[in-house]
């Protein structure tokens, strides 16, 4: 602080101003009544809550201006509870503000730092006590204790090992194999190439044996989108073009960014859009990323038709589907 310049003086705590209720018995009575009224309103709220719980059926809807159709049971319970709680609070605060002491009180602070002699004493004590253990001299004990403590920390880690299996090649595999039929989701019906008109999209899954159960973990990797364009619309390499069938192209539906379902298809632009972070994929160019944070195109599934004319996978996905991971070979 600059000491040469004289600062403006602290005038000290302003004098206490009395409230009306402190001096006027009538005002005091009035305040008391106001507090009681507030508590009374709260009680009415509780009554509303009880009434709504017991008498208003759970499926009764009423029209409330501004809010539209509202569930009367839910609204009655909520408003009743809100009133009953809010006005207890208002009552208490009004009571404190009008009738409880409002003189400001001054209390003193003390510095937290201990006096120097106590600090010295403390350091001395610690040194003395530590000296009796001889930690400094007994380095063998010190080192072995350190090692033992460190090692013992491994046990909780080890004990958590059975939380789950090792990933192995799990992230790289899907249920699609050579000849797996594409079936509609929902419905589980096989699909003829002619079922799909130009411009149409369909979500498909690999066919499973009748009555067998599809785990969500499988759907999370297997979901595929079929889109039919005019064969001339594609701008693909010959290999990628060979993976389509008659204008029908199949992509993994699991976003290559963070795995959301890429669900929005814009017919006009032939773009697929992921609603999670808006990565946008151009269908005509093999789901190349044209916008957003995704760094890889959606993997393309090689499809053809079987003897009966139903769409099938010609082979499994040639790369892992979904978000990236360390072991993924993306070159």
């Amino acid at each position: 602080m600059s000491n040469e310049i004289e600062a403006i003086k602290d005038p000290g705590l302003p004098a206490h101003v009395h409230r009306e209720a402190d001096t006027d018995p009538k005002a005091e009575k009035r305040a008391e009544r106001q507090v009681a009224i507030l508590f009374g309103i709260s009680a009415v709220g509780t009554l509303l809550l009880i009434f709504s719980y017991v008498f208003i059926p759970q499926d009764l809807f009423i029209f409330v201006p501004v809010m539209g159709d509202q569930n009367a049971h839910q609204l009655g319970l909520g408003l009743g509870m809100a009133i009953s709680l809010f006005f207890i609070g208002m009552g208490a605060i009004h009571w404190a503000k009008t009738l409880m002491p409002d003189t400001e009180v001054v209390a003193h602070r003390h510095e937290f730092r201990s006096p120097d002699n106590e600090r010295e004493d403390f350091v001395k004590t610690v040194k003395e006590r530590a000296g009796t253990v001889g930690m400094g001299r007994r380095s063998l004990i010190k080192k072995s204790l350190g090692a033992a403590l460190g090692l013992s920390a491994l046990s909780p880690l080890l004990l958590l090992r059975d939380l789950g299996p090792l990933p192995g090649k799990e992230l790289e595999k899907t249920s699609w194999k050579t000849g797996t039929r594409l079936v509609t989701d929902p419905g589980d019906r096989p699909i003829l190439a002619s079922d799909l008109e130009v411009g149409a999209v369909a979500q498909v899954l690999p066919a499973v044996a009748e009555g067998s159960h599809r785990a969500l973990s499988d759907i999370g990797k297997d979901a595929v989108l079929l889109i039919r364009l005019r064969p001339g619309d594609f701008q693909l390499t010959p290999e990628k073009l060979a993976m389509t069938h008659d204008g029908i192209i199949a992509f993994s539906k699991i976003c290559s960014h963070m795995g959301c379902a890429v669900a929005l298809y814009e017919q006009q632009t032939k773009h697929l859009l992921c609603p999670c972070h808006q990565s946008t994929f151009d269908v005509t160019r093999g789901a190349k990323v044209i916008f957003g944070p995704a760094a890889r195109p959606l993997p393309q599934l090689d499809i053809t038709v079987d003897a009966e004319g139903y769409l099938v996978a010609r082979s499994a996905f040639s790369e892992p589907v979904g978000p990236s991971f360390w072991e993924r070979n993306s070159q």
Partner: protein
């Protein structure tokens, strides 16, 4: 003595004879609490936490934390016959069959939102007033910890019902874990007991949500409040308020009644919101399945900034030696938030390093009197706001007739450009406010009354301000910048010259101010 007084007396006697608590209790019941509206933000945090405990416990009585597949047969017709997880089915049961269940779900969710908003508001209050300075650095760090835990707890909470929206959130969390170099896929498989989504995750996060984290909250909040109690509350500068005292109302009865009443008000307001404003209507989203998604997926607001950062990240991955590193996930999902939160936690130490101020502070700063700090705070807030806006880019696009493309590119540039601009503007604004304070003390307030001088000129009459006000506007200290020389006394360059230079520059920036009015200045004016 009234009957009640007699009874209270004998209870006090009973307790004191067994614990010797009388002296301690007397001291604490007369403890003084300063009053200011912004001190209520911390209270809102505490009260909404209590409300979360109460409403959450209610929900556990019916909620079934299981991903076992069931067929829905409840009263909500549109979903009847659908296959779904028991978690989702039981949340529908709470919403439609348990009387008051939907209200409790809404109260729980609204309380979570207000809890997080109050934490952020409280943190800002503490930051902008410099309440984090010595001796309160521990409590600042505890606060940053509580904020972080709150974000995690809230995320786990809205993941529990296993609807289409929350499942999508879990999917993204899994992708972040999976993106960690080297250990990612292992951690993901451990967390999910195999491939996503599996059947283990919801039961596991349920334990974390209702036991582990609430326990951690209780412990941290207790320490936080014990420290506030022990160190005594800070106070704003004003007449009679010094570094050595604390001025306010005694705990019993005034503060107790106000604080107790305020708990009911917070609960009442949350109940009111829950009654009239629908939140997370999970029955509209449907059960989770990885092959589907609801358009316009939005997390709760306290996750929104993170989502916004992820959305604006550039599409960069490194592919080398048969491995993949997803910078597009790691940078916005882990690295940037990590830097932000670490910087925030360490800020008290950083500031005292460059001001060289190691003294205790119990009087708060008015934000304008610490222009650099205030500007830094507004800069960080701007960063968060830009991210948050991008987190809602799809919603904003439809509301304001913009394309997502425009918002995305706007925020990609904005995140770099706007925060520094905000810094400069805020700093200037603070200095102008200081100047305005100076003028006010020197020349008083404008009265609007015009006075005609003998030679015809009109002047406005200024009324001097009260001594109390003058003191409030001038009692802050204005520390000079540290004098850090690059060379020591013998002309030898000091080690760590770059560090020193940085420190000197920050110190200088921090010390910029409009000189406050002194008593001498006032005397001079009087002579004119």
């Amino acid at each position: 003595m009234t009957n009640v007084e007699k009874k209270l007396g004998s209870v006090a006697n009973y307790v004191d004879e067994r614990t010797g608590a009388a002296a301690w209790m007397k001291k604490n019941l007369t403890k003084v609490f300063p009053d200011h509206w912004s001190f209520m933000l911390g209270e809102v945090c505490l009260y909404s936490f209590v409300i979360l405990l109460l409403s959450g416990t209610f929900l556990t009585f019916w909620f079934d934390p299981s991903q076992r597949e069931v067929t829905y047969e409840g009263s909500y017709a549109p979903l009847q016959g659908l296959k779904m997880s028991a978690a989702y089915a039981s949340t529908l049961h709470i919403s439609f069959e348990v009387r008051g269940g939907l209200l409790m779900r809404q109260i729980h969710h609204w309380a979570a939102i207000i809890f997080m908003a109050a934490i952020v508001g409280h943190l800002l209050r503490v930051f902008f007033t410099g309440a984090f300075r010595k001796p309160r650095e521990f409590n600042w760090i505890l606060g940053v910890g509580l904020l972080t835990l709150g974000i995690v707890e809230g995320f786990l909470g809205y993941s529990l019902p296993d609807d289409l929206l929350s499942g999508t959130g879990i999917r993204i969390a899994e992708a972040i874990i999976q993106a960690l170099p080297v250990v990612g896929s292992y951690l993901a498989f451990f967390a999910f007991d195999g491939a996503f989504p599996g059947e283990a995750f919801i039961p596991r996060i349920f334990t974390v949500h209702v036991l582990l984290l609430p326990g951690a909250f209780l412990a941290l909040i207790t320490i936080h409040l014990m420290l506030v109690w022990y160190q005594k509350h800070t106070q704003f500068p004003g007449p009679g308020r010094t570094e050595k005292n604390v001025v306010g109302y005694p705990l019993m009865p005034t503060y107790m009644a106000k604080a107790g009443g305020f708990f009911f008000i917070v609960f009442g307001v949350i109940a009111f919101l829950s009654a009239v404003a629908s939140i997370n209507p999970i029955w509209l989203y449907g059960p989770y399945t990885p092959g589907q998604i609801s358009a316009g997926s939005q997390p709760d607001w306290y996750m929104g900034w993170l989502d916004g950062l992820v959305r604006m990240a550039p599409p960069i991955e490194t592919h080398a030696f048969g491995h993949t590193i997803s910078w597009n996930i790691l940078i916005p999902g882990l690295i940037v938030p990590g830097i932000l939160f670490t910087g925030m936690a360490l800020y008290p130490f950083i500031e005292s390093w460059f001001t060289g101020d190691k003294r205790e502070h119990h009087l708060l700063d008015r934000p304008r009197n610490a222009p650099n700090r205030t500007a830094l705070g507004v800069m960080s807030l701007t960063f968060m706001m830009v991210s948050l806006i991008n987190g809602g880019n799809d919603i904003i696009a439809t509301h304001f007739d913009l394309t997502i493309n425009q918002i995305m590119w706007g925020t990609r540039f904005g995140i770099f450009i706007l925060p520094p601009i905000a810094f400069v503007i805020t700093k200037r604004l603070c200095l102008s406010l200081q100047r305005a304070d100076r003028d006010l003390v020197l020349h008083g307030t404008e009265t609007g009354r015009l006075l005609r001088l003998p030679h015809g000129e009109f002047v406005e009459v200024h009324a001097p301000i009260s001594p109390e006000k003058a003191w409030t506007l001038t009692s802050h200290e204005q520390l000079p910048a540290l004098e850090l020389t690059e060379t020591d006394a013998r002309g030898v360059r000091r080690p760590g010259a770059i560090k020193n230079k940085l420190r000197a520059r920050m110190s200088k920036a921090h010390a910029v101010s409009v000189p406050k009015v002194s008593a001498d200045d006032l005397k001079q004016i009087e002579h004119h």
